[in-house]
Structure formats: structure tokens, C-alpha cells
């Protein structure tokens, strides 16, 4: 295992595994979020969110998730810097549209845009839930089925109902995430060696479907509130 983490393929292996881990997280995250539009009273979402914050498994996963994000970002940055320096003199004329997809060429830029979104997103919700006294938004408690819990539904709903800008921002976040995944999903399998002529077609197709589901899934939530379907 010597030099594994300094080798190009070793770094890509970790980048891919962290990417696949983040993909698994996205699935859970989207499932939970869809509860927002299934029940306008917010009880379903609040119960789900309460289950997540009190579940010991989630408590353990939370720091692991943070490590996953950090690894993914740090490795992508190292690899990108190395790739930039591998061509000291650039071409005067390049025509790449004919030989590869735009999203595959711009993964780092897409990732950076998603990171900016992530910071705003964490501030909007995670920060306000973890540190309610420091945040701008008051987090009230609500009783669902005899259990007292944080009213996170109102926190989310009031943000989307009050601000069109935030709705648009979250829709854009979903679209950029989808673009990142159209390449990232199948590329992760390729980098860990799980790919061949047959599986490449399957994985690329699956990547497009998955990216579409994730993008649409995250986009319909702000859209739902923006269009007033959740009531005033």
C-alpha cells in the first residue's frame, strides 16, 4: 500500500468512494425532503426530521458525512491543481465540443458552485437548527403526537414562502448538482475499476436517470412553495 495515497489512481479511488458515499447521502436527503410536499401541515416532515436528529446512527454518520465532503473537496482540489500544471503552455485554439461532454470537462467548476450553494444551505437550515440562539430565524417547538420537537417545517416553509430569490437559488443548486452527477455518477464506477464496454452504457444511462431524479427532486420543493401550493 506504499504511495497509494500519493498515486493518481489512489487519489481518484478515494475521490470516487467519497463521491459514491455523498450520492448515498443525497438519496436519504431527498427522501426526507420530499416529506415537505407530501403534507402541508408539516407534521410528517417534523416527525421525519425529529427522527433524524434523535437517531444515534445519524449522530455517528454526521461527522463521517462531513469528512466525506472534506475529502471529496480537498482531493478534487489537489487533482485539479496537478492537472492544471500538467500543461504549462495552453493551446491557442481548442475544440473540445466534439470529443467530450461539457459537464465532464467542468466538474471542478460545477463542484465549486455546489460548494457555494452548500455553504448558503448550511447557514439557512443546519446553522439555524443547531444554534437557534445565534441564528436570525426563531426556531419554535411544536408537539406532534404527544412529542415535543423543533418546528423545522416552518423554518423551511417560511424561507421558501418569503423569498423568491432563495427559491431560485435552491432550484439552481439542484440543476448544478444534477449536472455534476451526470458525469460524477458513472465516472466514480470507472475510477474504481467497475466498468467495461457493456457496463459503461448501463452506468452512463443510469447516471443520467439518477441525475435527473436528484435535480428534479430537489427543484420541485422550492417550486412547490413558490407556486403557493403549500398555502400561505
Amino acid at each position: 500500500m506504499s504511495n497509494f495515497f500519493t498515486s493518481s489512481i489512489g487519489k481518484k479511488f478515494i475521490l470516487s468512494l467519497s463521491g459514491l458515499f455523498l450520492i448515498a447521502f443525497l438519496c436519504v436527503h431527498l427522501t426526507m425532503n420530499l416529506l415537505l410536499i407530501l403534507d402541508n401541515s408539516g407534521e410528517l416532515y417534523n416527525t421525519g426530521a425529529h427522527f433524524m436528529v434523535t437517531n444515534p446512527v445519524i449522530k455517528i454518520i454526521e461527522p463521517v458525512l462531513a469528512i466525506g465532503f472534506i475529502l471529496h473537496i480537498v482531493l478534487a482540489s489537489i487533482l485539479t491543481l496537478q492537472n492544471r500544471s500538467a500543461r504549462p503552455i495552453k493551446y491557442a485554439l481548442r475544440n473540445q465540443s466534439g470529443n467530450c461532454e461539457w459537464s465532464s470537462r467542468n466538474m471542478y467548476i460545477l463542484g465549486a458552485v455546489i460548494l457555494i450553494f452548500l455553504v448558503i444551505h448550511l447557514y439557512n437550515f443546519w446553522w439555524n437548527i443547531k444554534f437557534p440562539t445565534l441564528g436570525n430565524t426563531a426556531l419554535n417547538t411544536v408537539t406532534v403526537g404527544g412529542v415535543e420537537m423543533e418546528d423545522t417545517y416552518t423554518l423551511v416553509a417560511s424561507l421558501f414562502k418569503s423569498s423568491v430569490i432563495y427559491c431560485v437559488l435552491y432550484i439552481l443548486g439542484g440543476i448544478f448538482l444534477g449536472l455534476h452527477l451526470t458525469h460524477g455518477f458513472w465516472s466514480a464506477f470507472q475510477s474504481i475499476g467497475f466498468c467495461n464496454q457493456i457496463w459503461r452504457k448501463r452506468l452512463e444511462c443510469l447516471a443520467k436517470i439518477f441525475a435527473f431524479i436528484i435535480a428534479i427532486g430537489f427543484c420541485i420543493i422550492p417550486l412547490y412553495f413558490m407556486l403557493g401550493l403549500a398555502g400561505k
Partner: protein, 253 residues
């Protein structure tokens, strides 16, 4: 039927005196080029014109001129080996260009392939990667019988597809990361797929990847640009195999 004649072409060509000098683009006009001539023949005509004008001819790499040796290169109008798919520059013909067109010609741009002169780059980095492990050690004995080792047809075909690599450098030249992964993958695959090469597969994958990293090639991001530009259509499925071979070898250590 006689070939059409391109009355005038404008060529923007990278000129560089030697490895140490700073290069730049020069613009040349060339007249009456047959569409039946190859791209390199067009450059030959230009060079004759330059020699007759007492100017230094443009230096470019070429050898077999039938698309099998891997010597010719050139980044033409923003694409490795020009606008056609699955051909080397020597197999590119002037019928692909319109009369009056401006054609930009650059050398491979890759830190590991430094420019020696004009359009010629030093591709010995690929030789160094091969020397690190791209071979089968045969230390003694006579020539074994050709059919003594059974090899399934589909394996032989896959190995042959990888072995089609002519080492021209278009993969690293076209890759946005200057990654040599397609080249290394082809060389690792052609041997790893066959019983003769399996014995040293682990050592080979580790040594060749280590050499590739050391020489300053970038990291593959699976854009697939290399296989689109590869004159021999070597598939990036071989890159997946290289990843497998490398990871397997490292996990055993």
C-alpha cells in the same frame, strides 16, 4: 475525375527555433493545393515554397505516412490529428478543408512532451513509461510454439484492440488534464489480458503508473476525449482495467 483544387489557404503555424527559445505563430499563404493531397503533403508543398524563398522550413514529425507508425502528431484547428475521427494526421486529406480556410497548426501541448522545434515534441516520456514495465520478461529458452498456450478468441481480440495503440501521444495531447492514462491503460491491458503477461501484471501496473505520475502527466477525469481523438479508437474500458489492475496490485501489498 480530377481532384478539386483549393486556390488559397492561410496557415497559422507555431514556429519555435529550439527547446529553449520562445515560440510564436507565423502566418503563411499557400496556393493551388489539391484536395487529394494529404495534410503532410500540403506541409511538404509549403516547405518547398519556404526553401525557395530562402526561409527555414517548418519542422514536423512524420515517418510511415500510412497511419501505423505513430510518428506524426499536430494539433489542427483545435483537435489532435485534425477534424477527422480515427485517423492520424498523415491520413487526413485536404478534402476536409474549404477553399480560403485558415488552418491553425500547433504542436502537442503537454508538460511531459516539451517542444524541440516548431511542431516537433519530445515524446520519450512514453518510452520511459514503457521501459518501466510495458514488456514481458523472457529470460531464457527457445521460441515457444504459437498455439501451445490456449487463449480464448475474445481475449485475444480485446488484447489486440489495446495493442493497436501506436503511442502517438494524441490522448495526453487532447486530454484537458494532459493525462497519459489511455496510453498506459492500452499497454497494461494488452499484456494483462494474455497469459504471458499475467505473471507480471501487478508489478507492471504499479511501475507504469508510478512512472506516469513521476513524469508529470495529469490525472484522468474520465471525460473520454482521449478515445474520441485516438487514431486507433482505443477504448477507455482499458482505463477501467488499468484502475482494476493497479488497485488489485496495491491492495495485495
Amino acid at each position: 475525375m480530377a481532384d478539386k483544387i483549393l486556390k488559397e489557404l492561410t496557415l497559422k503555424i507555431w514556429r519555435q527555433k529550439d527547446a529553449k527559445s520562445k515560440g510564436g505563430f507565423e502566418t503563411y499563404k499557400i496556393h493551388n493545393v489539391s484536395t487529394g493531397s494529404s495534410f503532410l503533403e500540403m506541409l511538404d508543398i509549403l516547405n518547398e515554397q519556404l526553401v525557395s524563398e530562402n526561409k527555414e522550413p517548418v519542422a514536423f514529425d512524420h515517418d510511415c505516412r500510412e497511419g501505423i507508425c505513430g510518428t506524426c502528431s499536430l494539433f489542427i484547428d483545435g483537435r489532435a490529428h485534425g477534424p477527422d475521427d480515427d485517423v492520424t494526421t498523415c491520413q487526413l486529406h485536404m478534402r476536409r478543408f474549404e477553399d480560403g480556410a485558415t488552418i491553425t497548426i500547433e504542436p502537442w501541448r503537454c508538460g511531459a512532451f516539451p517542444v524541440i522545434k516548431d511542431l516537433i515534441v519530445d515524446r520519450s516520456a512514453y518510452d520511459k513509461i514503457l521501459q518501466a514495465g510495458g514488456y514481458v520478461s523472457v529470460n531464457t529458452g527457445g521460441v515457444p510454439d504459437g498455439n501451445a498456450i490456449p487463449i480464448p478468441k475474445h481475449k485475444a481480440d480485446e488484447a489486440m484492440d489495446a495493442a493497436a495503440c501506436i503511442g502517438c501521444g494524441a490522448c495526453a495531447a487532447t486530454c484537458k488534464n494532459s493525462s497519459a492514462m489511455l496510453f498506459v491503460a492500452a499497454k497494461v491491458s494488452q499484456l494483462a489480458l494474455l497469459p504471458q503477461g499475467k505473471a507480471e501484471a501487478a508489478r507492471r501496473a504499479k511501475a507504469m503508473v508510478a512512472k506516469m505520475d513521476e513524469l508529470g502527466f495529469g490525472n484522468c477525469t474520465n471525460t473520454g476525449a482521449c478515445e474520441s481523438e485516438c487514431p486507433k479508437s482505443v477504448s477507455i474500458e482499458h482505463i477501467a482495467r488499468l484502475n482494476r489492475e493497479f488497485l488489485k496490485a496495491k491492495f495485495k501489498d
